[in-house]
Amino acid sequence: MRLTDEETALLRGEAGAARRWAIDHQMRVGRYLGAADFVPVSQAHIMADTESLGAAGVAWLERMAALPQAERQVRVPTITDPRGTDFAAAHRLKQRDWMLDLERRAIAAFQAMGILMTDTCINYQTIMPAVRGEHMAYGDTGVVIYSNSVLGARSNFEGGPSALAAGLTGRTPRYGFHLDEQRRATLMVEIADTPHDLADWGALGGIVGRLAGDYWQVPVLRGIDRVPGSDELKHFGAALASYGSVALFHIAGITPEAVRLDDVADPALAVRARITAADIQAFQQAYRAKVDKVDVVVFAAPQLSLLEMQTLAGLLDGRRASVPLLVVTSPQVKPEADRMGLTARMEAAGALVLSGMCFYNSYAREMAEANQWRSLATNSAKLTNILGGYGYIPALLSMAACVDAACTGRIGR
């Protein structure tokens, strides 16, 4: 890789051990992935829940945080993805003390490095949306795909170590979606029926993700007959990234780089598949058929926007959950939901409103064992895709059907 004088100095350790580790790590990644040089980034976003970090990862962070103040501070604004708990509700989730201890230690280490503990996966809705063409080092696949596709930003999937490295150096290796040539469509899909419900958008993301198959594919959708809202594209993108490891999509006539189809697609690119409402229903039914009685209902992944909180509060008015009902939002949305009375309305129906965490990265297996949860209903296709490996049997339903399931303990047929 070509290095500037400043990057060479970082590699020599002239700015301390943390930045030397960071640039070396980035060069190892960049060489593997064919980067010719580095590109400056405006922000970094770190995924680092302690279930992923483990004790070894937390100790590693603490060693970094113990370096001299000037050496350990991040150089560009660096924010965090959801954590592995909401301390205010951890006992109700039956999380163990050792989990909370690890979380506290990790948070202290991040704060010592000057990292802003935003604890959110919807920063594009709540913190600061990226600008078209802005280079970022975002973690959380949902953040990357939304920012790349809907906002026209430029980021690869940056796992926790690499996002931290980008925060420390202010740059990232220039490969993948930082490059014009990687942003061209490779897969065209015809959408016969534009989804309406968020779970349907998630199911569509799952279907396209399975078709795409790997990180380097860029789907372009044709046939979407209206401009989808931010929450709809949030669920679509999160599922597409989850099922397909996809980091960028285009929607002809809607997303910013695909004003016209031929802006992103070569004339020879043929339609690979046509997706109908029946396909979307079949995708959901494949999960739903395995669940009758429901142990827990979860709204999360991504964290709920203020508008989703409002819709959910309306669906819960006058009703009462008979099984645990978890509603997960960001630390930025939660105070607004509190102030506007949405949290109180949901809690009156028996919901537990959680902030700053997500469900799947909060020791989901241990929570299942402690609470005897196995069958789960959610309107998040991303969550449905993840939780099977944690021992859950998930069902993907609409938000309204999830509320019904929470109140009756069963899934309606």
């Binding site: 995924m47 170590p161 490891s245 993840i386």
Partner: protein, 139 residues
């Protein structure tokens, strides 16, 4: 001895028995990391132990957690010997870089069809080009 050159690799040269499937890989989505087995019911290796095995799979899947999880798995010693993929994503590379974990990807053939399950293989990131060698097809 059959040898398969690859586009890229990192880590140390390792030998081990291959665990092979035409399926994806994500440490978060697919593994019970406490027990060291594939746990996602739909995965073609569901229920099988990955500890000490050279995993030969199709494509990197899922979220960003694997970037930390390879390091965490290695610290506890409940970890594959190496990861061999047709198609990687940056998360696998970042995780392997943090953990000094052996990984190789980008073959001219579908590597999941070329390597028999249970074969003794060697992953050699240090050769030019990096390669995977089948040393013994029978377990």
């Amino acid at each position: 001895m059959t040898q398969f050159p690859a586009k890229a690799a990192m880590g140390k040269r390792v030998r081990g028995r291959a665990l092979v499937a035409k399926d994806g890989f994500s440490a978060r989505y697919d593994l019970d990391r406490a027990k060291g087995v594939f746990s996602r019911p739909e995965h073609k290796l569901a229920g099988r132990s990955y500890v000490g095995r050279v995993l030969v799979l199709d494509a990197a899947k899922g979220g960003v957690a694997t970037a930390w999880m390879l390091h965490e798995m290695q610290a506890r010693g409940i970890v594959p010997a190496a990861l061999v993929l047709n198609s990687i994503n940056p998360i696998m590379v970042q995780g392997a870089a943090l953990a000094d974990f052996t990984m190789i990807s980008g073959f001219e053939t579908d590597i999941t069809l070329a390597v028999p399950d249970g074969a003794l293989v060697e992953v050699d990131p240090e050769s030019d080009p990096p390669c995977l060698r089948i040393l013994d097809e029978a377990e």
